[in-house]
């Protein structure tokens, strides 16, 4: 029975189902569904709602089944049509929805005998008509922004399948049999499943932390409130309870040293001298105590105490001989002292290494001398680094330069001690290789170098705060910065990260009022 007119009532949800069924007639646009110009007599392309143009003669019969299937497939039942039913004169174009359904029921049995392809349509139609339409989910799709959290699959594994980078609507539930986000196709899900899984899908959508699960509904589906917990709470109070306060990090580890481990012959000798005097004093006190106890015991006619024995230095039974600083006898060190005079603060040897400590103002002069003097010829600067001594009073950092003479196969360590905020002369003019090494020292300690060609951070990012190798920089707690995901529009990733960090006890506790 030919279909004469097709039009779209208000309320199209642009689900694309009709175009999938009958592409010759329906064209789903961004906001509505059009009846194609090719199929219409008046040649316009729109919903055909007001003009109710008649279909082309040739198409009226040939597209009958597919138009009916499209109308049945429409989840919001906005596709209306007029049909010539056999032997019944054409009624004026005023058919209501109920009338249309009656028309179909009267038509289908006849068609089904001749057209087995319509058997499916018939069963669907009879089902929809015999039983009252249940509320159901017509289609599900995933918008952009899935964080693959797996929450939906846990809620409703029949529909959702979370892959490595996105979430897919399973092929089993879809009419088009594809498996993807269903973002563009908007393929409908099977009606039976749409009815049975309605609650599961809605709760999965409600449980999605980034709200990307979207669905179309038919009828009055139950409403499930979005689950809110502490992490997903958007209220201003809840967000404020996460305080990004370094000082409040419970696991913050700062190992502040108590001593100044600066190897030096002078200090070593002074310590030894002090130790010797202390030992002697202790021994004298032991002797004096013994004399007093002895006279006391003799006076009381008791047995006198044992005479004290001076303890011999302990000798450990192992293969270790701790290296101690020794006075300098290497010709390089003596030569340096002779050349540089008063700017040499100390020279000594330890562990077979030559150490020359110079005044910080004279470091460039010392480096030039070491490089160019034929008696020294330290051609290569192999290493330059610093050490932080927060406990020391008169200086805060030592900078060491490790020089190597390739021709003479000797090594030398130049050392300077500098206070905080002291700008050291850069060694780049003498040894170009110091460039990156000094950048690293600046990066790690915040020591600035005068006349350095390119003093920027090298290992840390340019906007890093703090200087990691200073002793007051903690190993845990500081340096974890605010998480700023540019793509995280709803701020959920950040909150998730904060929660995760909180579970690890990192840096997220509310500071106690004190």
């Amino acid at each position: 029975m030919p279909i004469t007119k097709v039009w779209i009532e208000e309320g199209c949800i642009v689900c694309n189902a009709c175009e999938a069924e009958c592409p010759d007639v329906f064209h789903v646009t961004a906001d509505s569904c059009h009846i194609k110009a090719d199929a219409r007599i008046d040649g316009q392309e729109d919903e055909n709602r007001s003009s109710k143009s008649v279909l082309q003669n040739g198409l009226q019969s040939s597209l009958e089944t597919s138009i009916i299937a499209a109308a049945v497939a429409c989840p919001v039942n906005v596709i209306q049509y007029e049909q010539i039913i056999s032997q019944i004169p054409i009624e004026p174009p005023k058919i209501e929805v109920e009338v249309a359904i009656e028309v179909i029921t009267s038509v289908v049995p006849m068609v089904a005998e001749t057209e087995p392809a319509l058997a499916k349509v018939q069963s669907v139609i009879s089902e929809t008509i015999t039983s009252a339409p249940k509320p159901r989910i017509t289609e599900v799709w995933i918008d952009e922004g899935c964080i693959v959290c797996n929450a939906c699959e846990a809620e409703c594994p029949e529909v959702f399948h979370v892959t490595a980078d996105s979430c897919h609507i399973k092929a089993d539930v879809r009419l088009d049999g594809k498996e993807n986000e269903n973002r563009f196709e908007k393929s409908k899900i099977k009606q039976v499943l749409g009815e049975s899984l309605v609650e599961k899908i809605i709760s999965a959508a409600a449980g999605c932390p980034v709200d990307v699960i979207k669905y179309g509904v038919f009828g009055d589906v139950p409403k499930i409130e979005k689950k809110l917990d502490a992490v997903h709470d958007h209220s201003p109070d809840a967000v404020r309870s996460f305080v990004w306060d370094i000082a409040a990090a419970p696991n913050r580890v700062v190992v502040m040293p108590k001593t100044i481990p600066l190897p030096s012959l002078r200090t070593f000798l002074a310590e030894q001298e002090a130790q010797k005097i202390a030992d002697e004093a202790k021994w004298q006190k032991q002797l004096a105590d013994y004399e007093i106890n002895k006279t006391k015991a003799l006076g009381e006619n008791k047995e006198p105490p044992k005479a004290p024995v001076r303890p011999a230095p302990k000798k450990d039974d192992n293969d270790m001989i701790a290296p101690v600083p020794a006075s300098a006898d290497a010709p390089e060190l003596l030569y340096l002292r002779e050349k540089l005079g008063a700017s040499v603060q100390e020279i000594f040897q330890q562990s077979g290494e030559l150490v020359c400590q110079v005044a910080p103002e004279a470091i460039l002069e010392a480096l030039v001398l070491c490089k160019d003097d034929p008696a020294l010829k330290f051609e290569m600067l192999v290493d330059e680094t610093a050490t932080h001594y927060p406990v020391a009073d008169e200086f805060k950092f030592s900078i060491v330069y490790h020089l190597t003479s390739l021709s003479r196969q000797r090594r030398l360590r130049l050392r300077i001690l500098i206070p905080e905020n002291y700008d050291v002369e850069s060694a780049v003019s003498v040894y170009p290789g110091a460039n990156w090494l000094e950048r690293e020292v600046f990066d790690m300690f915040g020591i600035r170098f005068k006349n350095h060609p390119d003093l920027r951070r090298i290992l840390c990012p340019d906007d890093w705060e703090g200087y990691p190798l200073r002793k007051e920089y903690p190993t845990l707690g500081l340096g974890q910065r605010e998480i700023d995901f540019r793509e995280d529009r709803s701020g959920v990733l950040m909150r998730l990260s904060l929660e995760k960090a909180g579970n690890l006890n990192i840096n997220l506790k509310k500071p106690e009022a004190n």
Binding site: V255, P257, P261, F268, M320, T385, G433, L459
Partner: protein, 366 residues
Amino acid sequence: MFKNEELEINLGPQHPSTHGVLRVKLRLDGETIVKCTPIVGYLHRGVEKICENKTFFQGQVWTDRMDYVAAVSNNLGWAESVEKLFGIHVPRRAHYVRTMMTELNRISSHLLWLGTHALDIGAMTVFLYAFREREQILDCFESFCGARLTTTAFRIGGLREDIPPGFIKQVQAFQDRFLDCIDEYETLLTENRIWKRRTIGIAPINADECIAFGVTGPVLRAAGVKYDVRKAFPYAAYAEMNFEIPTRTEADTYARYLVRLEEFRQSHHIIQQCIDGLPEGNVMAKIPKVLKSEVNEIYHPIEAPKGELGYYLVGEKGGQNPYRFHVRGPSFVNLQALPQMTEGRLLADVIAAIGTLDVVLGEVDR
């Protein structure tokens, strides 16, 4: 018609030929490089800070993760540095085993370099040949310490265990066929016309520039400077070993290739001497369970496959962990010379230059 304008491109940080996460900012005029700026730090983990908060024994495992293709060399550097800091006397047998392992590691590191460098330039076959032998060395590591890459092979004071039974046989089996393998690589590359066109005269850096930038290792030796820490400042058992320092004077990529190939042969020679002259005795010095240092600072260099690897340690009185730990990574210092080697040359040569420097970004960024 065409304007003469410069173009700035980024090579890396995700680029297969940068061997990690090296980013090189290149300013190009046509195909010629006007300015080359290496940008590092993408792999910075703060190994120095971490080791300052670990005991001397715990610090060793972190050294594996710096130059991860030459973990044994890093281990040796750490163990010897701590021994130097404490004045520990290590048994001679341990020194021999360490030397043998380190040389095996040098071969495996150079093999990886050879394979990937050739792959970058366009010779695919060498990669497969090189990894065949590398696999055999990693098997030796596995039977020695149970791990293949992050070995933690040595202990402070010597070795944790003596070499396992059959280990010498396994190394000898490798030794017996390796010299022929080197000849195989040579047939693939040394007289290969394409290889020579891509390497001869490419990325040159002369001896003076090398010394100025602190460049060490095969790059320095290919510029004609006969400097090798193993000879100049002998450590482990190298003082007792008989070997040559291969040098070339051309100072280009091809010369570095030849130097490294010759280092294969020298390492092979050293391993053979270690096997033949392996002394009997203990492998572990007698050291206390808890190491407490005196006030001391040391800088201990070793010859890693990439160049001079130096550890700077400062000990605190009674301290169980280093007060200050600093790594002088050869890759870090050598990479400084990249602009010198590439500026004014062609874009395609940057790939060859990065390959010939043999940098490992784990060590550059630490």
